[in-house]
């Protein structure tokens, strides 16, 4: 699938085929995509524990359920739990920046050198940053980018996925993660039981309310020609509509199939 279509097709899938296994290689591809995401100072804060639902004990699965996410969690055969390893910056102490210098990604043309990393960047910026209150938020932003790449890869592989938040303390205990790892969100993965359209692209606020040019509040002008181009490339797709009879019929069919309340 072309990149723009993958972006256009991604939407939160909440009905999975519960008994259709997901190929292990597809999960690996998602993780490979996460590993290649952009990341500040190449620290790589993102950690993930892949959990195959049927490998969990009944009690473990029950403890993961929340009122909002329980059905999705029970239906999805694979759960990828994401964490932020806050300890990584002080473990690697700038070594991955030095790697970037070595491979020419960071060059003297931009002021970079081993000495700059060793004498300035790590001790004077990164190390104090890890003690600051904004550190978990800033580093989690980068984990989010990794998760996003994994999410898009799932759709490129013909899977469905959605993000949920599960109880962090339970995640840490069930999956035995190190103390320094902050539990974040979980990607639920499986083959969609609903159509890939799933009622259409989800409603979004107007473009002009989100993006600005020069200075706030001047909106970034949205060119209709670009919009048409993206429609042709299937990135911008048919939007979901309220009371869509086809979607209502689809949900009724799924409710019947899986014995769900309406």
């Amino acid at each position: 699938m072309e990149f723009k279509e993958v972006v256009g097709r991604r939407r939160s899938i909440r009905f999975f085929e519960p008994d259709r296994p997901v190929e292990r290689e597809k999960i690996q591809k998602m993780l490979e995509a996460a590993r290649l995401s952009s990341c500040a100072v190449n620290a790589q804060w993102a950690r993930a524990v892949v959990s195959f639902r049927d490998d969990l004990t009944k009690d473990q699965l029950k403890r993961l359920l929340t009122p909002v996410a329980s059905l999705n969690v029970e239906m999805a055969p694979v759960h990828i739990h994401w964490f932020n390893d806050l300890s990584i910056v002080n473990k690697i102490q700038g070594s991955r920046l030095r790697e970037l210098v070595d491979v020419g990604a960071l060059a003297p043309t931009h002021g970079w050198s081993h000495k700059f990393v060793d004498e300035f960047v790590y001790p004077q910026i990164l190390k104090p940053m890890t003690a600051g209150p904004g550190y978990p938020v800033a580093s989690t932003f980068d984990v989010g980018m990794a998760v996003s790449q994994a999410l898009l890869t799932a759709f490129d592989e013909g899977l469905g996925a959605c993000m949920v938040t599960l109880p962090g303390a339970v995640l840490k205990e069930v999956f035995n993660t190190p103390d320094e790892w902050i539990p974040l969100s979980t990607t639920l993965v499986g083959y969609p039981a609903e159509s890939w359209q799933a009622g259409g692209q989800r409603p979004r606020p107007p473009f002009e309310e989100l993006y600005y040019e020069g200075q706030y509040p001047k909106p970034f002008a949205r060119d209709p020609k670009v919009v048409e181009n993206l429609k042709a490339a299937k990135m911008i797709q048919e939007p979901a509509k309220p009371n869509n009879p086809e979607r209502i019929a689809e949900i009724k069919r799924l409710a019947d199939k899986y014995g769900l309340p309406m």
Partner: protein, 126 residues
């Protein structure tokens, strides 16, 4: 049935549509799915009524026991919600017939709670 202690006399139920919460349920069903929910499934009201008799509570009281008003806002009572989730699960298991039939009974009551703002999920029941 719901509370331990002195047994309460069996509940006297009015016609279900006279309860505000049943009206909310029907309105919600109609808004979401269309049709005429008051008549399109002849089993709908008998199923809710059977559950009400099982727990000896009228529909409004069930919602009252699963929600509360705090700081002027309607909130879900976690313990009440969990208690009713368990009661529905157990009641459903006692319904004669297939698992699909049992799920329909349980889901009818869950639907009543859901359309009154009380989130409930029972997982796939196939």
């Amino acid at each position: 049935m719901v509370n331990e202690g002195e047994p309460e006399p069996p509940i006297l139920l009015k016609p279900l549509l006279e309860y505000v919460t049943v009206q909310s349920w029907i309105d919600g069903l109609k808004q979401h799915w269309g049709g005429d929910p008051a008549t399109d499934d002849p089993e709908r009201f008998p199923m809710l009524e059977a559950f009400c008799r099982h727990v000896n509570r009228d529909p409004d009281r069930i919602i009252k026991e699963t929600t509360m008003i705090k700081d002027g806002e309607k909130r879900i009572r976690s313990k009440g919600r969990e208690r009713y989730a368990g009661l529905i699960d157990a009641w459903q298991d006692e319904i004669p017939g297939s698992r699909i039939r049992q799920a329909k009974w349980g889901n009818t009551v869950r639907s009543f709670l859901i359309h009154n703002g009380v989130l409930l999920a029972a997982g796939p029941q196939t």
